[in-house]
Symmetry: D2
Subunit: 375 residues, 4 copies
Amino acid sequence: MVGGGRGAFIGGVHRMAAALDSEIELVCGAFSSDPEKSRLSGEDLCVDPKRVYGSFKEMILKEKKLPENKRMDFVSIVTPNHMHYAPARMALENGFHVVCDKPLCFNMKEALHLQKLVEETGLLFALTHNYTGYPMVKQARAMVKNGDIGQIRKVVVEYPQGWLTTKVEDTGSKQAGWRTDPSKSGIAGAMGDIGTHAENLAEYISGLKIKELCADISTFVPGRLLDDDGNVLLRFDNGAKGILHASQISAGEENNLNIRIYGTKAGLQWFQMEPNSLIVKWLDKPMEILRTGVGKLYPEATAHTRIPGGHPEGYLEAFANIYRNVAICIRARLGGTEAPAVYHDFPTVSDGVRGMKFIEKVIASGKSKAKWVEV
Amino acid sequence: MVGGGRGAFIGGVHRMAAALDSEIELVCGAFSSDPEKSRLSGEDLCVDPKRVYGSFKEMILKEKKLPENKRMDFVSIVTPNHMHYAPARMALENGFHVVCDKPLCFNMKEALHLQKLVEETGLLFALTHNYTGYPMVKQARAMVKNGDIGQIRKVVVEYPQGWLTTKVEDTGSKQAGWRTDPSKSGIAGAMGDIGTHAENLAEYISGLKIKELCADISTFVPGRLLDDDGNVLLRFDNGAKGILHASQISAGEENNLNIRIYGTKAGLQWFQMEPNSLIVKWLDKPMEILRTGVGKLYPEATAHTRIPGGHPEGYLEAFANIYRNVAICIRARLGGTEAPAVYHDFPTVSDGVRGMKFIEKVIASGKSKAKWVEV
Amino acid sequence: MVGGGRGAFIGGVHRMAAALDSEIELVCGAFSSDPEKSRLSGEDLCVDPKRVYGSFKEMILKEKKLPENKRMDFVSIVTPNHMHYAPARMALENGFHVVCDKPLCFNMKEALHLQKLVEETGLLFALTHNYTGYPMVKQARAMVKNGDIGQIRKVVVEYPQGWLTTKVEDTGSKQAGWRTDPSKSGIAGAMGDIGTHAENLAEYISGLKIKELCADISTFVPGRLLDDDGNVLLRFDNGAKGILHASQISAGEENNLNIRIYGTKAGLQWFQMEPNSLIVKWLDKPMEILRTGVGKLYPEATAHTRIPGGHPEGYLEAFANIYRNVAICIRARLGGTEAPAVYHDFPTVSDGVRGMKFIEKVIASGKSKAKWVEV
Amino acid sequence: MVGGGRGAFIGGVHRMAAALDSEIELVCGAFSSDPEKSRLSGEDLCVDPKRVYGSFKEMILKEKKLPENKRMDFVSIVTPNHMHYAPARMALENGFHVVCDKPLCFNMKEALHLQKLVEETGLLFALTHNYTGYPMVKQARAMVKNGDIGQIRKVVVEYPQGWLTTKVEDTGSKQAGWRTDPSKSGIAGAMGDIGTHAENLAEYISGLKIKELCADISTFVPGRLLDDDGNVLLRFDNGAKGILHASQISAGEENNLNIRIYGTKAGLQWFQMEPNSLIVKWLDKPMEILRTGVGKLYPEATAHTRIPGGHPEGYLEAFANIYRNVAICIRARLGGTEAPAVYHDFPTVSDGVRGMKFIEKVIASGKSKAKWVEV
């Protein structure tokens, strides 16, 4: 693991997600750019002190020298955006599979280079757009793919949060600090942090690509350096229209990612905060609520469900589905085969490139007087 | 009443709304442009046959000749859009107050003329943007006005319906027929029929005015003559940003008008299909659900509530609030006074002009390559 | 109308319900046992002063003397429980149909006498168990009757309110006063006031009869004279089991009547505070939500719906369904025929007798050491 | 681990719950009473084959012989009810802490003996009444304890499931098989399997004890050997009244455990299927919805929350809270201290004895003609 030391948020999430299914063991780490902090964090986590490293470079080089069956099987990168590229690149160049937090990296150039490296090496690269790990998101995608809702006409995807309604970055919050700092986060604030989740979710479920967009990007909190709100009109490659909005100043909102997709036969609705329900509004029969683990669902949903219906599965289980799938794919590779297709269902470097392009274009559109910007 | 004969929809709604509080009696009507149909409809409605007229012109002229205390007190216009202007104008010109269905009329020219007539005559003119009649909408408006949610930064207003997902206008549906016919509906379909409700609701609660908009207007159903979907970015006069979308091809949606308003202190959420709840998401304390008739609400809400909390009030009660307020205002005028301010709370010709301008600009923006169109 | 003068609650509800469909006109009344108050109330209501009476006796006698086409068509009784019997009896004995608020009367003896009178006279007698007037309640009943949910095994009906959590009757509340006064309310408080609604709803939807019950009846508020909470085990005539609980000390509850019925094929759930949804939990397919006015419902539901789906209908509309049906039945009789069966769907004196028996038995069980009391 | 081999359900849940926080490692097991199946299951789980045992006896004896820092730290028992007592007893007698699935054991005699052993040995004994592990359940308990809702008057606890609506035990379902088999499950079916969860939840949150109960216990599915539904009136030691019902024939219900507690100041409502919300219905201010991880909650809630508000935590996280607390307590003991009180918050052998008594009394009441049975 690279990053995720004391005081970090997403590192702990990655560790719980990786541990849940007992498929993955945390064997080494460079938990902080500060070697002493890395050491202490390793201690907290009961990692063998010999494998707690002072930098990701040291980690990758030393692990590589270990015998194949003793070294780490993949690298997990959980640092802020500006520190994704270097460790990811080095891991790939040294033959390690990678799991990387989103967004992929700092800018398009880095993104395209990582994509190239993945293509060249054939290594696995998972990007933790974790919301696609929910069983009912997979059910929605399968329903669309199987034509259950007809041809898609409209997509509405929202990601309102309220935690940056005030200038939290001035209060010492580590999370708020780097996310609103252009030198760490990149050109986008909210649009990069959560807008990309919304974009990824919309394209994942719909199977469509955003072709053009028209954005109104705002910074509401005085003195903030990056956007904290964005409203975007979308046009998809099949002619469907859409709306995407993401915000971190929607006072009182927790983490209210949600999506509605309307086809010619039905509308689908999914809310991340009630993730075990998928609402299907049929044109010609009563509204249905499909539920995780209940009744006959598509295999894509069932394969990502752990417990019977009515026992709620949450964010960590969805996140863990990425890690479990990666673990299964790596194990298959170690055994000289490929895992079944259902386990190759996790976001990859391509989703990451797509996300970086979205960031680039949405920020450009925000500044543009032209109505439409091509993606 | 003008219009609302056999086979009409909104006429019946107006009659129930007017009857609910026993303040208003249906005394005469020109229920159809077909005199025989008007006669039969009058019979259905137990209106004195002598006061069932073959045309609105006849009605207005003959009623005017009746002694003051025998003639109708106001005219209710419930015809399709293209037949609002003429009876409204004639009623005003002959000294009758008017209640008119929305949108106000067919185009801006008519709208401005009606506004001028209202100003000149001093008569009451109510426009049935009935959704502002709900008690919790009034509570929301009062909360905004009293600064409870701080300064408004973002408004999201939605009006998805699904009933025009297929080409219903070809199946003989009277409702679908005129709404998709430019000669009756005007330049807009969904944006006029329901988009104006969304626009009106957003401005009513927020107290803000839309300053600029950027619209993507679509007709999804092949062969349809007017728009059936629109996605719009909004900019308000105080600097707030917003999204408005209205659709009649959102498969499976009933009549899902809803609004979210985010201020610096809290977010408000109201859903027309659960109209007795107002969700308040505070920045710094637990989310609250305010309920019609429960606890201490603003007088504006209480004055429009009929029964104790937990006994759901619906669409007709909200609609009836307009009629009741108009009746109280007229009665006060008949008595030579003005009703208290709380009863003057109904949409007027100015809201109608505003709505017509919205229609004009949103359709223009849909055709424009420029990003922003001023309203 | 008998009762419903200034300061009353349910009288106004009856008037709005009666007015909504323009089928019924308030022509006369004895609005209070105090003649002066009756007179003033009549003035408020714009009733012809000659037909505002000082007592129900005077009203019935004088109206009877009017020519048939000038006299009132039926009597509406909206007084507290102890004043139902006398006017109801006198109305029936003088040939007037009756609409009476619930519970039917003060005790079983009165109830049986009224039942006998109705049988003898053949007059219409409607009891305003208004919750059965909701379209989705009628849909639920029709689904049960048509075998859609299989054989019923379990019924859970709840009616929690919180408004009597403190000793409100000591604060001058007229509503709380008579409801907690044994000389006006009868032997039961909460169980009579709202327990009977729960009992009526359960038997109406299920089509079953309660055969035995076992009750734990409580008075929680010190000094209160009647029960304010009751928990009851039920056994139905088909072998189904059930639970009924009603409470007026469930702090924070508004008017949360709800019912769940489980059969061998599906479970039905309806909540009065969201009356336009009927949740159907199927054993072998996804949960459905049926909605007032949406899609294909049973004719019993459709016949009691006024407006299209998504336009919420509420408590007054449900209440009005009783009045409208009664009006249609009376008009048919006046024309020498009987109205179609779908309009004879309103609670009658038999439901009232059933409710009085429930009150008698549930209070007896509360005092009994034996487990089961036969109904 | 004892039990939890191939084909089992709850064993996997225990393993995920134990793994989530990387505090616990599965080091040995007797996964089945069939040694070969145990061996294969151990293989599946990557447990060192030398520590995969053919029986719990072998496991306990051999592990005890290992050096202290090599042997297992505690035993986890995940077998059907009739196989809890023997391994639990032997573990305690040999100095091992125990985590045991619920209900505690097969009958009261076993229960009391286990309780005695725990008292004598001072070992830790956790019972996985996992629903008390949810943060908002802990919040509810703390609110009650701190007097926030006043004095409790009424408790309604429900646990409807529908999965045994048909005779599933005849279809080869292992889960249904032992649960409906008196030789494995004990004297109770649904009341033992899920009724005890309801009982435990009610006493845990309320801090009250059930003093008397009156039960109607049913077996609806023909040929089934144990109860599949039960309705129970409750009386608590402080004078509060209550209702408990549990069912496995409530068609269409998933796992709908829920509780409502009404005090003199407010009502609390929690639904297991939406576990991150705690609804507080105040007597004198608007209803609030408290949310996991959002705002200022009691430390008992916060200490059992892993991720920020809006990222749903589910069943496995609640279950894991028991394991994590046990791990922290054991580690403290290994270090010669006691963990802080907040981590001693898990169900113990006393809860288990209480549950066994509930089973005994509720079944006795079901057969009794007397109204009340003392607990």
